[in-house]
């Protein structure tokens, strides 16, 4: 049985003016467990707190109820008070008789009666409170960044600069990501490579950063502060330590049939290749599906020509096990495939290209060395039609329902650059809406229209077909002019919708980080915690959380880094003690709780149980207290009541219900 003290606060006249505080204190005195009750002008004041402290000592109280303002206001204060007087801080309950009572009722009798009932409920709860202790867990001072694009690089650099070790895992042979493929960036038109490559180099040379390129995350275990991650380092067949990046091997490779991924397949590459000139690491990789040596056993020219004997056909995938305190997801994006959009003729006509392909065609390091030409006949196009929202904002189910966000701006950029370099080229842009919120964005778009004379047509393209004479006929509608029109074009550029990178879903499952239906990672709170995943210790950087342009990505990357630094700066993590607890004697191991846990805090273990009647090994739920946030979703999913929430147990809530419903006036 508890020994409970009740402390009724006047809050000056805030409470006392409408609640008869003396009566409340007197009535609650006869509640079960209550051995002391008092009232005071300001319970939160030092004197008030001292009153509580001395009562705890004088009456050997085991629990206290403070009838005062909202617990959101002073629960922490009174918990501290209790703790200082030697009782567990979680033996404190607050009856909110200000916001919920004195402030909203005018009649003294009514308010007093209600205050008594609220106090009674708090007493009933405290009777069932048990001391709770905040959990503690150590923090591994190392972060993992998954994805080596601009988001991942920026996050890693920021964390590394703060003095913490960071590993970047990138599935491609080089870091750099999508930004490395871009030509110029909007709205400033500075060259992407010029601003990205120094960062790539910095990441590679940073003493706190380790790069795992051509690598993937295999397995994630553990929880915030203590993740155990297995990384697969895929075999490159080139020894990174020996290779000098001279490129001798790549030029000697007799197979040229490989499609150059970096150039969006617009030109070829050897079976052993370096993705692009500034790749980091500058180490080639062998495409085994293409390599003659791997297919037939003959060849080996690259090995023979390697001056540093770095080519090693016997190399195997390597596994690295590492511990991390935090994980940042920066898996970025891709563009959708266009098989659902046959009307644009992408698969039929070589001169219908995606914007990313166009980006490579415009790039000085691209397949045409920066000279804009049609893929089919290498002629310079005279009329180019850009089509926006190809698969974006599509509610038909063929594409994506969301706005890809970046297309309006890069299309304006493409149109503008084209007109600047080739003023004799006519440029048309079909659009649904032009969306340009962002610093200097609308000005940029207006320049394209007003200064560069790009023809913007509000409307969608219905069909692209061949006129038989090497032209692409683009039939569309002009909604403003309310007419159908057909444009004879040399080239069509499709702003294909963006999508989450396909590696994201698998990773989300591994991390138990929740995702939306589009495979974008969900943030812990859409407004207040935009760079954190609901899964503790997992942070989000860049496009993987939703469409973003480069400045936004970099900003979010920095924000994620700040969150990671904040976490790694701690030596121990304190966890909320009001977390779920599974009673292994009752648990059936059905997995229902696990399925509703938003944080992946529940796992199962074969456990010896012995309730005096049954003794057996059984699959039972185990709550990871460092990960559980205490929402209680599991407690309702559990039919047997084996899962309960500390601080808000079933019995405590029943007791509160009972106390409120109890007959009065007897």
């Amino acid at each position: 049985m508890q020994r409970i003290g009740v402390f009724v606060c006047w809050c000056g006249s805030n409470i006392a003016a409408t609640v008869d505080v003396k009566k409340v204190a007197e009535e609650l005195k006869s509640e079960p467990g209550v051995v002391y009750s008092a009232d005071y002008q300001y319970m939160c004041s030092e004197n008030g707190q001292n009153l509580i402290k001395s009562a705890i000592k004088d009456y050997s109280l085991t629990g206290i109820v403070v009838c005062s303002c909202s617990p959101r206001m002073h629960e922490a204060t009174f918990r501290k008070t209790a703790s200082e007087a030697g009782i567990n801080p979680y033996m404190v309950e607050i009856a909110n008789i200000r916001e919920q009572c004195s402030w909203i009722h005018k009649d003294m009798a009514t308010a007093t009666q209600k205050a008594i009932i609220l106090g009674r409920a708090a007493v009933a709860k405290v009777n069932l409170n048990t001391p709770l202790t905040e959990g503690e867990s150590p923090v591994v001072k190392r972060a993992l960044v998954i994805g080596g694009g601009i988001a991942g690089i920026q996050t890693a650099l920021d964390i590394a600069d703060a003095g913490y070790k960071v590993d970047i895992v990138e599935k491609k042979p080089t870091i750099g990501g999508k930004m490395a493929q871009l030509d110029k960036t909007f709205p400033t038109l500075d060259c992407a490579a010029c601003i990205l490559t120094p960062k790539m180099v910095e990441a590679a040379q940073h003493e706190n950063i380790t790069l795992y390129t051509y690598s993937e995350v295999e397995e994630v275990k553990g929880y915030v502060g203590n993740f155990d991650v297995k990384i697969r380092k895929k075999a490159r067949y080139v020894n990174e330590n020996l290779c000098t990046g001279c490129g001798e091997c790549t030029s000697k490779c007799p197979s040229r049939k490989g499609l150059n991924e970096f150039n969006m397949g617009l030109d070829g590459r050897g079976a052993i290749y370096i993705p692009f000139a500034q790749a980091i690491p500058n180490v080639p990789v062998i495409d085994t599906a293409q390599c003659i040596k791997f297919k037939t056993g003959k060849c080996g020219l690259c090995q023979m020509n390697c001056p540093s004997k770095a080519v090693d056909f016997s190399q195997k995938d390597e596994f690295i096990d590492e511990k991390y305190g935090a994980i940042v997801v920066a898996t970025g994006f891709d563009i959708i495939t266009l098989e659902n959009y046959e009307e644009y003729g992408y698969s039929m006509y070589k001169d219908v290209v995606t914007s990313l392909e166009f980006e490579r065609l415009m790039n000085a390091a691209g397949p045409s060395k920066g000279h804009l030409e049609r893929p089919s006949d290498h002629k310079q196009p005279k009329t180019i039609v850009f089509v926006q929202c190809v698969g974006s904002r599509d509610t038909t189910g063929c594409g994506k329902e969301y706005c890809s966000k970046i297309c309006c701006m890069y299309t304006a950029k493409h149109a503008m650059l084209t007109r600047e370099k080739y003023p004799d080229t006519e440029v048309y842009v079909f659009y649904i809406d032009v969306r340009t919120p962002g610093k200097n964005f609308d000005e940029f778009y207006r320049r394209a229209v007003e200064q560069y004379g790009v023809h913007y047509i509000k409307g969608m393209v219905g069909k692209v077909y061949d006129d038989g004479q090497g032209h692409l006929m683009v039939r569309g509608s002009d909604l403003l002019a309310n007419e159908q029109l057909t444009i004879k074009a040399d080239m069509v550029v499709l702003a294909a919708a963006t999508k989450a990178d396909e590696s994201a879903r698998k990773l989300g499952t591994m991390l138990t980080a929740s995702m939306d239906t589009n495979d974008f990672f969900t943030e812990a709170h859409p407004k207040l915690r935009p760079v954190e995943s609901p899964t503790a210790g997992v942070f989000l950087s860049g496009f993987c959380q939703g469409p973003k342009d480069i400045p936004e990505t970099v900003a979010q990357a920095g924000a994620a880094a700040a969150k990671v630094i904040g976490l790694l700066a701690k030596n121990k993590l304190k966890s909320n003690p009001c977390v779920a607890r599974a009673d292994s004697l009752i648990c059936s191991g059905c997995s229902n709780c696990e399925k509703v846990c938003p944080f992946g805090a529940i796992t199962y273990a074969e456990t010896d149980v012995n309730d005096g009647t049954v003794r057996e090994k059984r699959r039972v739920a185990v709550v990871n207290e460092a990960v559980c946030k205490g929402c209680g979703a599991c407690t309702v999913a559990c039919p047997s009541g084996a899962m309960d929430l500390k601080g808000f147990t079933n019995k405590q809530i029943f007791a509160e219900v009972d106390a409120i419903c109890r007959q009065t006036g007897e």
């Binding site: 959101r72 206001m73 909110n96 909203i104 929402c631 808000f648 809530i653 219900v657 409120i660």
Partner: protein
């Protein structure tokens, strides 16, 4: 019944209403209603829970057993849950529970779910007033009560 006052005049019906409020949105909404002095029925008593998904149907039935005349659940708006998905589970659970109560002939008006954010003090007070009014109209809950608790 005699109407002669003082002889058999019944005490005015004072419903018992329990409002389960999630800590992060609706409880804060109630606080805001309080600081805005937005009055609502004193028949409503709040029980604080971390999230609306903590509310077990057994709590609701228990309330009716012990003499409650109405039970209302208030949580964050869908999509705004502090725990990201808790209230989505609440929504399904309560939809199905209420449907079952209705199917068993228990007045559906006695149970309700409302989404009230921390900024919606006015909505909190209006909702509680409206709910309390409805319960008052319905009168004492009989179909799901326990005679021993009368």
């Amino acid at each position: 019944m005699q109407t002669d006052r003082g002889v058999t005049a019944e005490k005015e019906f004072q419903p018992k209403i329990i409002a389960f409020c999630c800590n992060w949105c609706s409880y804060a909404g109630a606080d805001l209603a309080g600081s805005g002095r937005l009055s609502y029925s004193a028949d409503v008593k709040i029980i604080r829970v971390p999230c609306s998904c903590r509310i077990n149907p057994m709590f609701i039935l228990r309330a009716f057993q012990k003499g409650a005349d109405g039970v209302i659940l208030a949580g964050c708006h869908p999509g705004d849950c502090h725990y990201s998905t808790g209230n989505y589970f609440t929504r399904r659970r309560m939809t199905l529970l209420f449907s079952m109560l209705d199917y068993m002939g228990i007045e559906k008006e006695r149970t309700r779910v409302e989404w009230i954010s921390a900024a919606e003090g006015a909505k909190f007070s209006a909702t509680m007033n409206e709910f309390a009014g409805e319960i008052k109209k319905l009168g004492r809950s009989k179909r799901l009560g326990d005679l021993r608790c009368r």
